[in-house]
């Protein structure tokens, strides 16, 4: 297949860059948000996934708004009106021979799509508004926050500095941060970004909502950090017949988070039929491993050790029947057919990391992934989050992994719940403990339990356990989160090789004294 061709439509004197993907009967025009770049967006996993999903049932028409991406620049002294930008949509539709199309307006694209639907109802088959709004200052940011945003844009544009305001859930994804910085640089200049922000600040479409007469679907993430979900609730109340679907998540861009869910909702609305089940997905266990330098080794030594660990990682993954995936920043991803293999591989990797002299932290999760290609998607992202959350030497797995590994001889201790942006509810997690016959080096059972093995904080926690306090009470007493207390309790039980809280309380009583806990 040839790369997707970029062409240019003429809208007045301005050239608007566009692409067409997909072969469906339905035309779907994607009106992008604040900034976009037609070429760059295919390089991001989530963006590319969303566009591919939409193009399975439509002829997907993409464009960069004037002043952004590959389209002509705008004169920052003469900013175009929303009407002019809406007319760019018509120009692109004319260029591709689209007489009537569904419009997907994402974020700042939503007001433009709404205006188009109100102006050209005969050319609008349906409206899909994701994270949209009718009034900028009311639902995106008040004037004083806008000035702060523009200040950031003018001083740090191109560094990815705006990411926390759009997708805070991706702040620990080094690869995505780099992509976002490029996305800023290649989508707009600093001056254009400031101008576009001022342009968007003038948006007020409240007056036209009652004139929209096309089938309308609204999608909004419940904790969207950029656009208040109340914005879509307002649209639902004021666009006749509009249907609102709220989904979990706080990251704003439509191509972040669970894009498959977003695509499923759109496909069903636009085609009248649920998405065809993707038969090329399989259930798999994923292991994410990260290593880091705690010994201040220096760049050269660290680089050598990291290289050594990477080589051993490939070897061990293969030995445990797994397949290595591509690196995601500092994370290494491997795929296994069953969770027990993934856990055993993780235990072996932990041991190797200790031998090499680097710190390891690992996460394991089970879920559906694409049969072909690198493990990507929600399952992979959750696995990586678990590895990021894991402490030194930890193997943190979702509870599901433990449930599926019943009968394997592996042991787990409860490690509380982890809240992840993309999941509706906190994910129950466990910590994989040592398996004596496979990884004796990990933790010596013969070693007598010593109070000295505990950190000062763990000693405080164990004392409060002995007082009969619950995790919630301990959390309140020590000003910690309940989750952190759970982690401390799990670590205490691990270090002291004790089976329960009661045993920890008894241990505390036995070792009470000046040296004890």
């Amino acid at each position: 297949m040839r790369p997707i061709e970029t062409r240019y439509a003429r809208s007045g004197d301005v050239r608007i860059a566009y692409q067409v993907a997909g072969q469906g009967a339905l035309d779907l025009v994607f009106v992008p948000g604040f900034i976009s770049n037609l070429d760059l967006q295919w390089e991001d996993e989530g963006y590319s996934r969303l566009l591919k999903r939409l193009s399975t049932f439509s002829r997907l028409i993409l464009f960069d708004k004037r002043g952004t991406g590959l389209s002509d620049r705008i004169d920052s002294r003469h900013l175009p009106s929303v009407e002019t930008r809406m007319d760019d949509v018509r120009a692109v539709m004319d260029a591709v021979g689209s007489g009537r199309a569904a419009l997907l307006g994402a974020s700042e694209g939503a007001p433009i799509a709404m205006l188009f639907a109100a102006t050209y109802p005969e050319r609008t088959r349906a409206l899909v508004l994701y994270g949209g709004y009718a009034h900028f200052h009311k639902w995106v940011m008040p004037p004083e926050r806008l000035e702060a945003f523009i200040e950031t844009a003018e001083t740090a544009w191109g560094t990815g500095a705006t990411l926390p305001g759009f997708a805070p859930g991706r702040m620990e994804d080094a690869h995505f941060i780099q992509w976002w910085a490029r996305f800023e640089r290649l989508s707009a200049s600093p001056t254009a970004a400031s101008s576009l922000a001022r342009l968007d600040a003038g948006i007020d479409m409240r007056g036209i909502l009652s004139t929209i007469r096309v089938p309308t679907l609204l999608i909004h993430r419940r904790s969207d950090v950029r656009v208040d979900p109340e914005a879509s609730r307002f649209l639902a109340r004021n666009i006749r017949g509009a249907r609102l679907v709220e989904i979990p998540g706080r990251d704003h861009p439509v191509w972040t988070g669970d894009v498959d869910r977003v695509a499923d909702i759109m496909e069903e609305f636009l085609t009248g039929q649920p998405a065809v089940a993707d038969t090329e997905r399989v259930l798999a266990a994923l292991l994410a491993t990260r290593i880091y330098d705690t010994a201040k080794l220096g760049d050269r030594m660290w680089s050598e050790r990291r290289q050594r660990f990477h080589e051993t990682w490939r070897l061990l993954v293969g030995r445990h029947g797994g397949r290595v995936g591509g690196p995601h920043g500092e994370l290494m991803i491997a795929r296994f057919d069953g969770p027990a293999r993934a856990i055993r591989c993780a235990a072996a990797l932990r041991e190797v990391a200790q031998q090499i002299g680097v710190a390891s932290a690992q996460g394991i999760h089970v879920g559906e992934i694409e049969l072909r290609g690198q493990p990507v998607g929600l399952t992979a992202r959750v696995t990586m989050q678990l590895a990021i959350h894991a402490g030194r030497g930890d193997i943190i797995a979702s509870r599901l992994v433990a449930d599926l590994a019943v009968g394997s001889g592996l042991h787990f201790v409860d490690a509380g719940r982890i809240t992840l942006d993309e999941l509706g509810e906190p994910l129950p997690v466990v910590q994989a403990t040592s398996e004596q016959h496979l990884e004796p080096a990990c933790r010596s059972k013969a070693r007598p339990a010593e109070p000295a093995a505990l950190t000062a904080r763990e000693s405080e926690v164990v004392s409060l356990i002995a007082d009969g306090k619950s995790n919630a009470a301990i959390a309140a007493a020590l000003k910690l989160s309940e989750h952190t207390v759970k982690r401390h309790v799990a670590n205490i039980l691990l270090k002291l090789d004790l089976p329960s809280r009661a045993a920890a309380a008894a241990f505390s009583a036995r070792h009470a004294g000046p040296e004890g806990p």
Binding site: Q23, A25, L26, T56, G97, G99, V276, T279
Partner: protein, 120 residues
Amino acid sequence: MLTKTKAVDGASIKQAIEGRDGKLLSSFYADDALVRVIDRNNPPSKPREIRGRAAISTFWDDICSRAMTHKVDTTIAEGDNLAFTQACAYPDGTKVFCAATLELKNGLIARQTVVQAWDE
């Protein structure tokens, strides 16, 4: 049910497609007709299926709203089976070629399979 204005044969299909007449095309289908589309994004193991005349009407309305040209070239008829090929072009020069087979029941299209390839 729409009024059927023409017999479903190669000539009427050619006239409706080339004239981008979605209403006429829709009238050729049985109420419970099935159209299956196979292309790069909808492979043979999971073709896109459009069921029932209402959905098929929308399908043709969408296609006929495009400012493009259609030319039906080869039509073969044998009993209740019809086949034709269709060459299409978009204003930007993109070409599409389709081959379609149809099964008729009581003079209406009951089942149609379209295989299409696009310039890309």
